[in-house]
């Protein structure tokens, strides 16, 4: 295999993070533990979303829609029925994926900005349904009292559960982006027309990517509803979509672990800056402008440039 160099892919970040995360409950304050849980949940959503944006080149403006489906389905099953926790938990992402087959079927019919607008429209539809269907979702009053079983209740136990799901999700996504399917997605990102001429049904692959991505967005939503114990329309509105997109941009969408790095920075910045000023979005906006203009590889791309300048990290 003489021409297959070992590509550097931040495995070391994963290793370091995993060890740190495992030890965290023993050394950190509960406040920090919940912060890290949030980071892990956000990074599952962002990595799932990045399969679409970074790997397939499809910029969805509505990832919050799928996130909402996962969160509300799990929440509703736990609050309104006596479904066992794990069943309720896994129903969220499965439902998100199923609905996305329909949504995706419409969306992949259009490309670029029209695709983006369609996804935005569907996310808004989902948001409106959730907000108006008072009897089921609680509307603006939110869905409160989401109970998790005793084996994972409490910040520390839920943290361990989140950590497990986080490891499994990232492992699956890692396998997917390095599989033949993942390669084809990257081909579609680079040149959809050319891909069609090497016997690839581009729309079908895009739909598959959309559904897989939705599954992980839904999974993150489910995790969040159990973590938070309640869920409100404000948690799943268009701002949530921008959060997820920004996390990918921030961390670097052309690197697998980019969104993880992004989630870290995003949540820490949020809490850190919020201590000093309420205008944290101002600082974030400035950072994003700099990144988009100067370092489209995001933070992970910058790191990579510093450590191995030969590999080009951004377009």
């Amino acid at each position: 295999m003489d021409f297959l160099q070992k590509t550097k892919n931040f495995q070391w970040i994963l290793m370091a993070l995993s060890i740190f995360f495992l030890l965290a409950p023993f050394i950190l304050q509960p406040g920090w533990i919940s912060l890290i849980s949030e980071i892990m949940i956000l990074s599952i959503a962002a990595c799932g979303y990045n399969l679409l944006m970074g790997y397939t080149g499809m910029v969805s403006f509505g990832p919050a829609g799928q996130y909402a489906l996962g969160a509300y389905v799990t929440g509703i099953l736990l609050v309104r029925t006596s479904a066992p926790f794990l069943l309720a938990f896994i129903s969220g992402p499965i439902f998100a994926a199923l609905v996305s087959i329909v949504i995706g079927w419409f969306c992949v019919r259009r490309t670029e900005v029209y695709f983006s607008l369609l996804t935005l429209a569907f996310a808004q539809i989902i948001y409106t349904i959730i907000q108006k269907w008072y009897s089921l979702t609680g509307g603006d009053d939110g869905l409160v009292g989401i109970m998790v079983p005793s084996w994972c209740s409490g910040i520390h136990k839920y943290y361990i559960f989140t950590f497990l799901i986080w490891v499994i999700s990232l492992f699956c996504l890692w396998k997917i982006v390095n599989s033949p399917f993942g390669k084809v997605l990257q081909g579609i990102r680079e040149n959809p027309r050319r891909t069609e001429f090497i016997s690839i049904n581009v729309k079908e692959y895009q739909l598959r990517a959309f559904v897989i991505s939705s599954f992980f967005l839904g999974l993150a939503g489910s995790l969040y509803s159990g973590f938070n114990g309640s869920i409100f329309p404000a948690n799943i509105d268009v701002i949530k979509s921008t959060d997820i997109i920004v996390v990918c941009l921030l961390g670097g969408m052309h690197r697998f672990f980019g969104p993880v790095v992004g989630a870290f920075i995003y949540i820490f910045l949020n809490k850190l800056i919020a201590n000093y000023t309420e205008y944290w979005a101002f600082v974030l906006g400035t950072i994003i402008i700099i990144l988009v203009l100067q370092a489209r590889g995001g933070v992970s791309g910058l790191l990579e440039k510093i450590y191995s300048p030969r590999i080009i990290g951004s377009k």
Binding site: L4, C172, P180, F181, N191, R194, E196, F197, I198, Y205
Partner: protein, 503 residues
């Protein structure tokens, strides 16, 4: 017989791009399609590969009717193609480009959890060996030279395990050395690997040296078919390429043009535009090699050459749209290299692009009004004066730009450029896609522009048109000026044309 096309037709808005074409390709055959620009060659490829659906006719591949099937189905049956403009996966590595094609050809594209990294390693290596890019396996495809990207383009096509390979201008934009190499490579694919190949090419050396069979297309139809020797002797083929020249010799004796030129020469002042040894690149592709040319006051200068030799790039370099890396461009004595396009336009160079770019939803008059611009050297042009030269535009002044015919749009584009009061006009293939009668009108109009003292630099593939119009000519070949001189000389010696422009 591997491919059979039966009376295939396709029209775009009234223009028949492919008109009742029938052809057969035999197993293992290496054949080519030649023909002037706009003859319908690429459209034919696009129809065969399923990118465009035909209006009528049938395509049969290995006994199966594939008419109207989508490209991904047709390519899975064994037809692969390469593109005129490089069409690769730029941000993937070279070996990944080929690996993706192989994965897909083996039906493994949907596997979610196996590791793709080492999959089909041997086959990938084999193709890299064939296309001679093994040493670049780990480079990003986008960083390869233009010639190597063309090779990779074919490599991707080979990854699909094709039985029929369609190559659209495989050597366009390659250096002469690369072309030689690549020609041999194509020949070996057909002769050693047994792949049937159908290719479109403008380089006649390539076409005549390797084709088993040549087909000549003109205005959507196949007008001749045969071995290289038969085609070389075919009078009809020669007339397609030279039809205009005789005609113009009759209508406008060369000697007049020459005298005109001589008289102009006497009261000629210093050069208006002078391009000195410019080198221009698109990314890493080296397009222009030390191109130099001069336009003097009141002169019409033409740039001749086949498709993809750098004519448009020369005009775009002058305009600052692709700034040259080396060399100088002096306009009225000032170096304009490195200035942004809008500043160069303000200095008085008007560019009329090939694709016209009129505003379809504005009326003709609005299209003209929008372009009014004061010139530092005084305003010579206004709408009335423009209407005098292009009376048809006055008639159509309240019609929307998008409803004009191709010829009228071309006139509108030139007129619009005039509204900016340019000192010099660059016209990119003004006669392209126009019917002969319109070309004649355009000819008269450009002559009257010349009488107004407007210097013009135009690029053309319609040699007859360009030569009768211009005072001076430059012939471009693979990015280099290979001949320059008075147009009358070229017109009187078709042999020179033949030598540089082939056929």
């Amino acid at each position: 017989m591997i491919l059979e096309i039966k009376s295939l037709s396709k029209a775009f808005g009234g223009i028949k791009a492919v008109d009742n074409v029938s052809l057969r390709v035999d197993q293992g055959e290496l054949s080519s399609i030649i023909g002037p620009n706009g003859a319908g060659k690429t459209t034919l490829f696009n129809i065969i590969t399923g990118h465009i659906a035909p209006d009528s006719g049938q395509i049969i591949f290995k006994g199966q009717d594939i008419t109207g099937l989508p490209p991904y189905v047709i390519s899975s049956l064994g037809i692969a193609r390469s593109f005129q403009k490089v069409n690769i996966f730029s941000m993937l590595r070279v070996f990944e480009n080929i690996q993706v094609a192989l994965l897909s050809a083996h039906g493994k594209g949907k596997e979610l959890f196996s590791n793709a990294k080492t999959l089909f390693y041997r086959e990938t290596e084999e193709i890299l060996e064939i296309i001679g890019l093994k040493g670049y396996a780990n480079e990003l495809a986008g960083s390869l030279s233009h010639g190597d990207q063309k090779r990779l383009e074919v490599g991707i096509a080979l990854g699909g395990k094709p039985q029929l390979l369609l190559l659209d201008e495989p050597t366009a934009g390659m250096s002469p050395e690369d072309t030689l190499d690549f020609t041999e490579f194509i020949r070996s694919l057909a002769k050693e690997k047994g792949i049937s190949i159908l290719f479109v090419e403008h380089d006649m050396n390539v076409v005549f040296s390797i084709s088993d069979k040549i087909r000549v297309m003109a205005s959507g139809q196949i007008i001749s078919e045969g071995s290289p020797d038969e085609i070389r002797k075919d009078k009809r083929v020669q007339s397609i390429y030279f039809s205009g020249i005789k005609e113009i010799k009759e209508s406008r004796p060369a000697i007049n043009v020459y005298q005109e030129y001589q008289s102009k020469k006497i009261n000629r002042r210093s050069s208006f535009l002078s391009v000195k040894e410019i080198d221009t690149f698109y990314g890493l592709s080296h397009i222009l090699f030390k191109v130099s040319l001069e336009v003097s006051e009141g002169e019409i200068v033409c740039l001749l050459g086949r498709n993809g030799v750098g004519k448009t790039t020369t005009l775009r370099s002058i305009m600052g749209l692709v700034p040259p890396k080396k060399g100088r461009i002096e306009f009225l004595g000032e170096n304009i290299v490195g200035k942004p396009a809008f500043k160069i336009a303000r200095m008085g160079i008007g560019f009329v692009p090939e694709n016209r770019l009129i505003f379809p939803d504005l009326t003709v008059r609005e299209n003209l009004e929008i372009a009014i611009k004061d010139s530092p050297k005084g305003n010579n042009w206004n709408i009335e004066k423009v209407y005098q030269i292009f009376p048809i535009l006055a008639e159509r002044q309240n019609q929307k730009g998008g409803t004009l015919s191709g010829g009228e749009q071309q006139m509108l584009t030139i007129a619009r450029t005039l509204m900016g009061n340019p000192q010099l006009m660059l016209l990119d293939e003004p006669s392209e896609g126009l019917a002969p009668i319109i070309v004649n009108t355009l000819y008269d109009q450009l002559i009257s522009l010349k009488q107004e003292g407007m210097p013009i630099l135009l690029s053309e593939q319609n040699f007859a048109f360009a030569l009768s119009l211009s005072d001076k000519a430059y012939i471009l070949e693979k990015g280099k000026i290979c001949w320059s001189g008075e147009s009358s000389v070229l017109k009187e010696n078709p042999a020179i044309l033949k030598q540089y422009l082939s056929i």
